[in-house]
Amino acid sequence: MIESSPLRIAIASGKGGTGKTFLATNLARLMSQYHKTLLVDLDVEEPNDHVFIHGTLESSLPQYKMIPEWNEAKCTHCGICSSSCAYHAVIQLGTYVAVFKELCHSCHACSELCPAQALPMQPHEIGVTNIMIAENLTFIESQLQVGEEQAVPLIHRTHTLIRENELHDFPIHIYDCPPGTSCPVVAAVRPADFVLLVTEPTPFGLNDLQLAVDTLIKLDKPMGVVINRCDIGNNEVEAYCNRMQIPVISKIPYNRQVAVLYSNGELVNGRVHSATVAFGQIASYIRDNI
């Protein structure tokens, strides 16, 4: 199987706290026993895979987004920059040009439309990507600097890093995605071949699962559902999946021992029977069906 291009599995959820990190780390560890596996933590606002996967740090790369830097000496105060910025990130005030870097989307319009070349684009650090080796698993984590507001550029940078380095040689990629359904999730799942949605059988879980499914349909992504703590609520999540013909790949029962191991930052695979069975099910689904 899977010879040339990697199989990219994104783990997403809509609702937070349903078990994305739990599934991503345990599944990555399990699959790494059979294939060279790459685990990528794309929940850049609150990355937590490192709590469960301990590796040796291979490299630590600062990540940047490009922002314009005003060169006062060259500026002719023509105002083109200010009028070309859709985000009000470049504003001319009299003879002064202010750049609000947190509002900038790095479109380069102001810089390239400036007739005096007075706004060259400069890198601005937004976070860091750490590459770690944990036995047969290579683990990449991107962390947004506190105070930076845009997760999307860092998620894009991380995907680019994977594409441009030898990292795409790994036959299995597992992407741990941010919660929600808006732009960071779209950016994170974009290159994936298959999306595993983790949910819980509660009204909140169902509501957010529906939002996530709508997003993935729009992105034309094949998907499957894992119901975590499957015995705590009601049957409506499963009924919804059946109605939508989305496969329910596995159901993981609530287990206090799992919750305790998780809280201590420990993997549960091989230690708690019910969860181990579930991870095995998910791994074989991936191998056989995707």
Binding site: K15, E46, C107, L211
Partner: protein, 295 residues
């Protein structure tokens, strides 16, 4: 008027269930704002009537008129978001990738590209059973700018609170530390953090508190599922003390959270051993806000 924002960093710690319970306890005194616009859930507990709906427009979207396009390819070359691609000799713009910067429209000489307003969600102003109002929203699929929609939700809540002379605005924030969270913090008087005693919970609590400190807003913390891991729970208490965060309550693991969701009610309204604890939290927060006002 006092604005209370409930945050967690990590998702799934019980933030929304607790906010909705506080909303019931506050009754007519508080306007409720659900600022978790990415994955809004509070309506499932408070059952707003979706009384008034307002379309929310944010930013723009580039659109190509194929009759005017000469397929010169300049637009695709300058687009930093890889939103423009060619298929069968015809350029297309992917609405999911376009960030609305307008650069392509500006440089397109045959003027084949125009910018259109982009609808990115809906805002609702509703009545709820507490006798008060709730402002909530739904972001369209894959839409951007949730920070702007958050700001809009808050501003609507503020203007209702001002005109109706309410004492509180109670805001349910989103997980994470990015733009929606920063947007929900603007103007807040007090932040209630809901965490859980896990390595991840503590990690995320530290990161979200670092954001809150930048705004110099006073904060208190509820440790939910406090009996799950006693060691980490006491680690969190040490962190709270060091940072000067009020320790509001410990809530042991309890199925009231799930039960109340399924009943479509809040914990404050069902038979639950947690009721008293949540009432104590609300009394404390009110006390803290009033004593702050005197200083």
């Amino acid at each position: 008027m006092n604005e209370i924002v409930v945050l967690s960093g990590k998702g799934g710690t019980g933030k929304t269930s607790i906010t909705a319970s506080l909303a019931v306890l506050a009754g007519r005194e508080a306007i409720i704002a659900d600022c978790d616009v990415d994955a809004a859930n509070m309506h499932l507990l408070l059952q707003p009537d979706f009384g008034r709906r307002i379309d929310f427009f944010s930013g723009e979207l580039a659109v190509i008129n194929p009759d005017l396009c000469t397929a010169c390819g300049k637009c695709a070359a300058i687009c930093r978001f890889n939103a423009i691609s060619i298929l069968d000799n015809q350029y297309h713009i992917s609405p999911l990738d376009c960030e609305g910067c307008g650069y392509c429209a500006r440089i397109c000489h045959p003027v084949a590209i125009s910018m259109r307003q982009r609808k990115s969600g809906s805002l609702f102003i509703s009545k709820i059973r507490t006798g008060s109002s709730m402002v909530h929203a739904r972001l369209d699929i894959g839409a951007e700018n949730s920070g702007k929609l958050v700001a809009r939700v808050k501003n609507e809540a503020k203007s209702i609170a001002a005109s109706e002379n309410k004492r509180y605005i109670l805001v349910d924030g989103s997980p994470g530390i990015g733009c929606p969270v920063v947007s929900s913090l603007a103007g807040a008087n007090y932040v209630i953090l809901v965490t859980e005693p896990s390595q991840s919970g503590l990690n995320d609590l530290r990161r979200v508190f670092a954001v809150i400190s930048k705004f110099r807003i006073k904060a208190g913390c509820i440790i939910n599922k406090s009996d799950l891991n006693k060691g980490i729970a006491s680690g969190i208490r040490v962190f709270l003390k060091e940072m000067g965060i009020d320790h509001l309550a410990d809530i042991p693991y309890d199925n009231s959270f799930t039960r109340s969701m399924i009943e479509g009610r809040t914990i404050a309204e069902i038979q639950s051993p947690l009721k008293d604890t949540i009432e104590v939290v609300w009394t404390r927060v009110q006390g803290l806000l009033n004593s702050n006002a005197e200083i």
